[in-house]
């Protein structure tokens, strides 16, 4: 079983696919759920406090905007944990969306820097491409250690 970082991290479809093949998806939903369920915090809507952009300094320097550093406080630990990653390029908003382009560039760079197996795919625009898309993800997940056939 591998810990698989998914991009966009908000994609429920991708998260579900990873779980179906016996792996652990590293997604935004889990991180946000953990924060929302943490008692004693009161910083809606995501329970991110002004302390988080400071934690994000681990991944981005102080001259980087606070929104990037706050996001990295969320995604950075997931990248550190990741043993593999699936990156979908030009995804439709309905598939999953990550708000800040600069954060997205940094996330992809840090994933590549880790040297873990990465599957890069373009979001499908036709039914035929859709079938190929799912097949490629299946094949990738099966190839990871502990992946169910």
């Amino acid at each position: 079983m591998a810990k698989v970082f998914i991009y966009p991290t908000t994609s429920l479809i991708l998260s579900d696919l990873v779980a179906r093949f016996g792996h652990t998806p590293l997604s935004a939903a889990l991180q946000v759920r953990e924060r929302i369920q943490t008692p004693g915090l009161e910083s809606p809507p995501l329970q991110i406090t002004p302390e988080d952009p400071k934690k994000g300094l681990r991944y981005a320097a102080v001259e980087v905007p606070s929104g990037v550093r706050g996001r990295m406080a969320l995604y950075g630990p997931m990248i550190e944990e990741a043993e593999a990653a699936i990156i979908i390029h030009d995804a439709d908003y309905s598939f999953g969306c990550m708000g800040c382009a600069r954060t997205n560039e940094l996330i992809q760079f840090l994933l590549r820097k880790k040297g873990i197996p990465i599957l890069d795919l373009r979001y499908p625009r036709t039914d035929e491409e859709g079938v190929e898309f799912v097949a490629a993800i299946q094949e990738f997940l099966k190839s990871l250690p502990g992946g169910s056939p």
Partner: protein, 410 residues
């Protein structure tokens, strides 16, 4: 009074941990923030038709939401645009959206670039101005002062009071702010004395400035109002430009305001207060270093050449150091005074005036408008003849007295 509904167009406040602060500032002025809901296909079409090809989906969403607001698909009373400080992509979107909304709708709009250190207190004056424009258009439409009214401007550096009767200023009081209440009381007494009227005769009172709440509650003011709207109103009233467009610049002791005004009502505005090097405080320090009174700095600067003094920093500490070094190297006090005025004007020009559309007449108000060297430096940068109305240092007090007359009973 119904809540003012403010549409939020933003990228990043939730992830910077400051969304709570934005909402708290809105709550403090009895406003309600909301994200304009739009359909997925409207995001695509709204963004595509706007024509600004940015990469960040949250900025694309903001563009689509702005279009929905301008086209009337979503109703709002005002718009708040907020993006991360230091993000170039967001800065472009922020500026273009503010301009787009101002040019294509009657919605008051304010924009802000935040850091994780932004607090509700920092945003309060902006939110208050935003809700005032939305809520009190009738009050802001007032063009004539009536009856006998008193206006107090409790500023960070000075406290000013003005007594007005039947559209005339009949008494003024001006003091450095020490104790907020004590300074206000003294300024009021000075104004009343000069006007030759008793406190009991005053029919309505208005307060503005940093100490407006404290002073307003103490003297039971009829109107307690932030300085963005009050100063705009006072500026166009004194400059006799109540109709059509104008731009108001107020370089204060603690912060600066640049306000784009249409028919006496503020449209877009910026309020800067991060750096003391861009404030009246820097000019005070320069005057002190040159051994002249602040009132002498302006005429001195007019005789000097700013370019002769190298200024390597906008910072109040390092900037002052540059001036000291220049004096030690033989620069004249006139050139140093001119360089200080140019430095403040240039900072305001670069950091704030780029964010609003400058429309003539450009009116400078506040105590610093009496420093002729600063007015000249600003005029040179903007390539316009700056208007400094009479009583410009009393602008907040005059605006308060003018607007307070709307509260005279009977």
């Amino acid at each position: 009074m119904s809540k003012v509904r403010i549409a939020q167009l933003s990228c990043g406040p939730e992830y910077s941990g400051v969304q709570k602060e934005i909402e708290e500032a809105a709550r403090a002025v009895d406003a309600e923030l909301f994200y304009p809901d739009i359909r997925l296909e409207d995001i695509r079409s709204g963004f595509d038709s706007f024509g600004l090809d940015v990469r960040s989906p949250d900025l694309r969403l903001s563009i689509a939401r702005a279009r929905a607001l301008v086209e009337g698909k979503i109703e709002a009373d005002a718009v708040f645009i907020a993006t991360c400080f230091r993000c170039a992509e967001a800065a472009i979107v922020r500026n273009e959206l503010r301009r787009y909304i101002a040019e294509n709708s009657k919605l008051p709009v304010v924009s802000y670039s935040f850091t994780e250190r932004t607090t509700a207190g920092t945003l309060l004056t902006r939110m208050e101005a935003l809700t005032t424009i939305a809520r009190r258009r009738a009050l802001l439409a007032r063009e004539i002062q009536e009856g006998l009214t008193l206006g107090i401007d409790s500023g960070s550096s000075t406290t000013k009071a003005v007594v007005m009767r039947d559209n005339q200023i009949i008494g003024t009081g001006w003091l450095p702010t020490t104790g907020v209440l004590a300074s206000a009381e003294s300024a009021i007494e000075l104004a009343l004395q000069q006007a030759g009227v008793k406190r009991s005769e005053i029919q309505a009172v208005g307060t503005t400035g940093y100490g407006r709440f404290l002073v307003g509650e103490k003297i039971k003011a009829d109107l307690i109002q932030e300085e963005l709207t009050v100063n705009s109103k006072g500026a166009v009233y004194l400059a006799d430009t109540q109709h059509g467009p104008s731009t108001v610049i107020d370089i204060g002791g603690m912060d600066n305001k640049a306000i784009s005004v249409q028919d006496g009502i503020p449209g877009t505005f910026t309020m800067g207060g991060i750096c003391a090097g861009a404030s009246g405080r820097f000019l005070e320090m320069t005057a002190k270093r040159l051994g002249v009174d602040i009132t002498e700095l302006g005429p001195l600067a007019l005789k000097g050449m700013a370019k002769k003094v190298p200024m390597n920093s906008y910072c109040i500490v390092f900037g002052t150091q540059s001036l000291v070094n220049a004096l030690a190297a033989g620069s004249t006090p006139e050139d140093v005074a001119a360089a200080a005025c140019h430095s403040v004007a240039e900072q305001v020009f670069e950091q704030q005036l780029q964010e609003i559309d400058i429309k003539t007449p450009v009116i400078m108000v506040g105590g610093t408008s009496l420093i002729e060297g600063l007015v000249k430096a600003m005029g040179d940068l903007l390539q316009v003849e700056i208007v400094v109305p009479h009583h410009s240092q009393y602008i907040g007090a005059v605006g308060s007295a003018l607007l307070a007359s709307g509260f005279i009973k009977g």
